[in-house]
C-alpha cells in the first residue's frame, strides 16, 4: 500500500485490570474475585493496541492518539501510563467504585459510541479481550452500534490513510482483510511489543490533558444486563498415578471405564 501522510485520529480503550502475575482468589461470598489491595495494571492487550496507535502517529499516519478508560478513580493511573507511552490526551469516564464490578462490555460500548458521536475518530483500537473477564465483546458491540467495519485479533496493521489492511490471527491460520475507515480494531498478542514508559515521558505525561466525563452527562444507561450467580475456584485437580508400561496403562484405562473392555 502506498503510504501517504494521514490525518487519522485514534481512540484507544485501556482497561485497569488485576495484574496478570497475581494469583487470583475468589471472595468467600463467591460473588467475585478479590480485587482489594491487589496489584492492578493496564490490560496487556490494550497496551498492544496503544503501542500500535502510537506507532501510527510516529509514522505520521495518525495525528492524534486519545486514551480512554471507564471505571473508578484509579483508572487515572492507567491513563497516565498510556500518556507516558505516547498517547496525547486521555478521557476518563468515572463511575463509583461499587459500580465498577457491575460494568459490562455493553455499557463500555455505549459510552464509546457517545464519545465518538461528539468527537470524530477514524479508528477505535481495543485489546482483543480483557484478562479479567475474557469477554471480548466491546469491539464487536461498538462496531455494530456505529455500523463500522471491524477487524479483530489483528497481528499486523497497514494503512494508506483511506483503508486498513489487517492480518488477523484466527484458528485456521492468518486471515488478511481490507476495511474502510472509520473502523474498529482489536489487538492480538503478536501485533507488536509495547515500549516501556521512560522517565522523561512519565514526567511529561503529568502535564498532558486528562478529561473527566460522567456516564450520566453522556446519557449512557448503565443498568446491568446480567447477574453473576456464583464465582468459584476451578475444581482441585485430582492426583494422577504413574504406570510402568503401556499394557498396564491399557488395563488401568479399561478398569476405569475410559476404554471399552
Amino acid at each position: 500500500l502506498a503510504v501517504i501522510q494521514g490525518r487519522m485520529r485514534v481512540l484507544v480503550g485501556v482497561k485497569r485490570v488485576v495484574d496478570y502475575a497475581v494469583k487470583v482468589r475468589v471472595k468467600p461470598d463467591k460473588t467475585g474475585v478479590i480485587t482489594e489491595g491487589v496489584q492492578h495494571s493496564i490490560n496487556p492487550f490494550d497496551e498492544i493496541a496503544l503501542e500500535e496507535a502510537v506507532k501510527l502517529k510516529e509514522k505520521k499516519q495518525a495525528t492524534e492518539v486519545v486514551a480512554f478508560s471507564m471505571g473508578g478513580a484509579k483508572c487515572q493511573e492507567v491513563l497516565r501510563t498510556a500518556l507516558a507511552k505516547g498517547a496525547d490526551k486521555a478521557i476518563h469516564v468515572e463511575i463509583s467504585d461499587e459500580d465498577v464490578s457491575k460494568l459490562e462490555p455493553l455499557h463500555v460500548a455505549r459510552t464509546l459510541r457517545k464519545i465518538i458521536e461528539n468527537d470524530k475518530f477514524d479508528i477505535v483500537f481495543l485489546g482483543k479481550q480483557a484478562i479479567d473477564d475474557d469477554a471480548s465483546q466491546t469491539g464487536s458491540l461498538l462496531a455494530g452500534m456505529l455500523n463500522w467495519p471491524q477487524a479483530l485479533y489483528a497481528s499486523k496493521v497497514e494503512t494508506d490513510g483511506q483503508s486498513l489492511k489487517v492480518t488477523r490471527e484466527i484458528d485456521g491460520g492468518l486471515d488478511t482483510i481490507k476495511v474502510s475507515l472509520p473502523a474498529v480494531l482489536s489487538a492480538d498478542l503478536r501485533l507488536n511489543e509495547p515500549r516501556y514508559a521512560t522517565l522523561p515521558n512519565i514526567m511529561k505525561a503529568k502535564k498532558k490533558p486528562l478529561e473527566k466525563k460522567s456516564a450520566k452527562d453522556l446519557g449512557v444507561d448503565l443498568a446491568p444486563q446480567t447477574t453473576v450467580l456464583e464465582v468459584s475456584e476451578p475444581p482441585v485437580r485430582q492426583a494422577g498415578g504413574f504406570v510402568d508400561d503401556v499394557s498396564t496403562l491399557i488395563t488401568r484405562l479399561k478398569e476405569k471405564g475410559f476404554v471399552k473392555a
Binding site: 502510537v54 510516529e58 507511552k85 505516547g86 515500549r195 521512560t198 522517565l199 522523561p200 514526567m203 502535564k207
Partner: protein, 242 residues
C-alpha cells in the same frame, strides 16, 4: 548542604552527552545510556528533574541561537525556565552581554552552572541566576527591569525553551509575556516541537491573552531524539507578539 548533595547526585547520575541538535555542547543529562532512563520519578531524590533532559523545544531554540549570532550579539537575555541551561550557553557563545538564568527549580540553576563549567564557560561575569517565580509578582519584577536597563530594545531577548506542555500554564505565561513585551519591547523566542498548547485550535481560542506566532526556524530532530521524545520528528522556533 542540599546543593552539595544535589551537585554530587547530578555528577554521579547523569551522563555527559553531545547527542542532540547542538553537538557543540556537552551536557549532563539522563539519556538512554543511563540506568535512570527506565526508572520512575520516585527513584530520583531530586524531584521532577526536567533539567536532566534536553527537550526538543530547547534543542531547536539553542540551535537557532548558535546559528544567528547577529541577533544575539550584545543582547540582554532572560532565559525563562532555563532547565539544563543550553539556551544560555548558546547566548554566551554568540556574544550576549547579559543573561538572567531563571528556573523555579534550584537544581536547574545548579545543572546550568555545571554545564557551563563542563563547556569551559564559567568565568563569564555577565550571568545571574534566580529561582524567583517571575509569574508570581503583580508587577514586572525588578530583576527584569535591571536586566534590560541600558540595552536598546532590539537587543532585548526573552527565551522559552519547550515551556508549553500544559495549556493552563501556557495561559498564565502568555498574559505575563504580553506585560513584559509592553513594558520592555523584548523579542520573544519560543522553541517548541508543536505540542498541543501551541497548536490546537480549541486551546488557542481559549487563552485569555491572544497572541501571534511567526515561525523563524525549523529543524528535523535526529532519530535518537525522536526515539526519546515519542513522535516528535521536528522542532521549531517561533517569535511571539501580541
Amino acid at each position: 548542604f542540599m546543593s552539595r548533595f544535589a551537585a554530587k547526585w547530578i555528577l554521579r547520575n547523569t551522563i555527559i552527552s553531545k547527542e542532540s541538535l547542538t553537538p557543540e555542547f556537552s551536557l549532563r543529562l539522563i539519556t538512554e545510556a543511563s540506568p535512570l532512563w527506565m526508572s520512575t520519578p520516585d527513584a530520583c531524590p531530586l524531584i521532577d528533574p526536567y533539567w536532566a533532559f534536553y527537550w526538543p523545544g530547547g534543542q531547536s531554540l539553542t540551535r537557532f541561537l548558535l546559528d544567528n549570532v547577529d541577533a544575539v550579539r550584545g543582547s540582554a537575555v532572560l532565559d525563562f525556565g532555563a532547565g539544563c541551561g543550553s539556551a544560555s550557553l548558546a547566548c554566551l557563545a554568540s556574544g550576549s552581554s547579559r543573561i538572567l538564568v531563571n528556573d523555579i527549580d534550584q537544581n536547574a540553576l545548579l545543572a546550568t552552572r555545571l554545564n557551563l563549567k563542563l563547556n569551559k564557560m564559567s568565568e563569564r561575569k555577565s550571568i545571574q541566576y534566580t529561582s524567583t517565580n517571575l509569574l508570581d509578582s503583580m508587577n514586572v519584577h525588578d530583576m527584569i527591569r535591571n536586566l534590560y536597563k541600558g540595552i536598546p530594545q532590539k537587543s532585548r531577548i526573552l527565551l522559552l525553551g519547550d515551556m508549553f506542555y500544559d495549556s493552563d500554564f501556557a495561559d498564565t505565561v502568555f498574559t505575563w509575556l504580553r506585560r513584559v513585551k509592553e513594558e520592555f519591547g523584548v523579542r520573544i523566542l519560543v522553541g517548541d516541537p508543536d505540542r498541543h498548547p501551541l497548536t490546537e485550535k480549541m486551546i488557542l481560542q481559549g487563552y485569555a491573552t491572544p497572541f501571534n506566532k511567526t515561525r523563524v526556524a525549523s529543524y528535523a530532530l535526529p532519530g535518537y531524539v525522536t526515539r526519546e521524545h515519542y513522535g516528535f520528528t521536528s522542532a521549531h522556533v517561533y517569535e511571539i507578539d501580541f
